[in-house]
Symmetry: C2
Subunit: 367 residues, 2 copies
């Protein structure tokens, strides 16, 4: 099957390389603003040319951003082409419309590379959801913050220096907001919860605390508690209600989650009857993420359904029953709370922040 590739950055290039020598699929055109004489295929800056090309069966979108990516993939589906994308922002923002459009157009839409990098997470999750009721999903789904937290835990370097190092290594973007504030992880949580629960939840309803206000004294306090901090996402379904939040979380130092270092991701699902399954691997990087894109393309060739799940029932987030103990630092004073709800913990942090105090919030995982 012929593929048109939109975007030729790290993931696009790696995906292109991974397709070389395959007999089942090949990249026949690349959308690129600048000429790429090194490529033997068609290189164009005109998306309409790609849409009109009847020989293209799959459009792979790895450009990122909302526009023009949204316009492109809608046009591709309307032209009867399957779409494989790594764009979590786009799929989260237009979840319901995209699923409906794929169904309407009789094409497949896949976005495995959008969550977990090289881990076949969304595929495994949707396969598990065919077998049992999925009651919870959770994990480390952002490589940037995991790299930074691992480095700060290991070396005691401060946040600003660590961010600069991560940027120099290509692990953090020039504008790191989406990663360090937890928005990237939250989008991956939205996709995970939607597939796990047959739901459609809204990104902005999910409380989200990032790592940008973390300080060296926090790490010192956690070391004394025998804990390691990870930016963790979690969603649960209980009696029809969906709880979900993104929050730094303190794990026992010897636990597998605490041992997930660098840009590694680790993610877990729980089936009501079959129990927990965990998946870990590279959460970022060209070849791992490119492999997930390739996996989607192979699934498309093998005739996968229009989307991972057929249901997308609108669900509001309800964190009133989700509870836990929290580490809450306001100014230079840190406390470990007793059991409180997630809603209460986020409200306390928000109140302190609105008073102008520097605040850090972390959930304490039960052992």
């Amino acid at each position: 099957m012929n593929i048109a590739l939109l975007g030729f950055g790290t993931v696009g290039k790696a995906f292109y390389e991974l397709t070389l020598g395959r007999s089942d699929l090949r990249v026949t055109s690349v959308l690129s603003r600048r000429p790429r004489p090194e490529l033997p295929c068609t290189v164009t800056n005109d998306f309409d040319e790609i849409v009109r090309d009847r020989s293209v069966g799959i459009v792979v979108e790895v450009m990122g951003g909302l526009e023009p990516a949204y316009r492109y993939i809608c046009a591709a589906m309307r032209a009867g082409k399957h779409v494989v994308t790594a764009n979590k922002q786009l799929v989260c923002a237009h979840y319901d419309e995209l699923l409906e459009l794929a169904k309407e157009c009789g094409v497949s839409l896949r976005c495995t590379a959008a969550a977990g990098g090289g881990i076949p997470w969304l595929t495994s999750l949707s396969r598990a959801a065919r077998l049992d009721e999925i009651t919870a999903v959770g994990g480390i789904l952002n490589g940037t913050t995991n790299y930074m937290l691992s480095a700060m835990t290991a070396s005691g370097v401060d946040y600003t220096t660590c961010l600069r190092e991560a940027q120099a290594l290509g692990y953090a973007e020039a504008d790191p907001t989406a990663d360090v504030e937890g928005y990237d992880a939250r989008r991956k949580l939205v996709l995970s919860a939607n597939l796990a629960f047959g739901a459609s939840v809204r990104e902005e309803e999910i409380p989200c605390f990032g790592i940008s206000s973390v300080e060296e004294k926090d790490f010192a306090a956690w070391r004394e508690l025998g804990r390691v901090c990870k930016l963790f996402v979690r969603a649960e379904r209980h009696e029809g209600r969906v709880s979900a939040f993104v929050c730094p979380t303190l794990f026992p130092a010897a636990s597998p989650v605490a041992q997930t270092n660098g840009t590694g991701n680790l993610v877990t699902l729980r089936g009501a009857r079959f129990g927990e399954l965990s998946f870990s691997g590279a959460g970022a990087g060209g070849y791992p993420t490119g492999s997930s894109v390739l996996s989607d393309c192979v699934d498309v060739i093998e005739g996968c359904p229009s989307f991972y799940v057929s249901r997308h029932e609108a669900k509001h987030i309800d964190n009133s029953a989700a509870a836990g103990r929290f580490y809450l630092r306001m100014g230079s004073e840190a406390v470990c709370t007793g059991p409180i709800t997630v809603a209460e913990a986020f409200a306390r942090a928000e109140r302190a922040r609105s008073c102008g105090e520097p605040v850090f919030l972390a959930r304490i995982e039960e052992e």
Copy 2:
């Protein structure tokens, strides 16, 4: 699709329950020596009746053992029925013939429940092998020995007492030989290596050291080294050669493998370009294993190919390049060797054993 279920033990019962309420498949007959008036479906002790029943699309075999299971699943395939089995012993012993027969008969043969219990390991492995060259597989694939080693590490209980406890809890069989000597893990390694490398390797060519000669003093020595012992399987492909062995292995105490306790399994594959992916979950138990059987049935309904891989090139095991350091206890004397080949380590252990000395061998995992 209608299913005939051969065997109604722990896995068979759980699988049956998991199918209740599904619209895509249902168990319409159960092969059982004794009457089961509680079941609303056909219960028969005559397999020929099942083979002749044209309404049966899938035969699920969870009886275990070589015969009559082998005869049954061959007859089922010849009658045009798909086969899903959890029987690693059977699939290992007749690997080439079964693959050929499935292809010849135009049916699917699946055995995901045969390795890793509830972990979708063989499926994930074969999916990964579509994307990249798989260069290594390895992991904890036996729940019984992992339960026993975890218990002995935690409580200092001796081997015989621990085995008796495991038997009382249903984690070890009355005849524990296949588990404690590593044969069960070796069969799972055969299936893993075959799928990963498109190979067909022979069980009896893979060196295998079990845990039945472990003593309390070994645990004391490992504790001093900051290590935890796991029965680990490993296979690698390098320049066309396949190395494979089953051996107790000492991991750093804080590593994710060392933290895999009880009947949990953890298994890892390495792609030449996309890197490592790990999977962990329940390695045994009715619902987890039954879920893997169910997953295979759903894949069959969705039209999966005749087997996970199409190639099964005969490969001899060559451990001449596989090397490492080893913990070798002969009698009451333990030594940690320098780097030696796996072949040499097993030969040393064998020599000592043939002199009548109690011997324990463990590979020391590099940090």
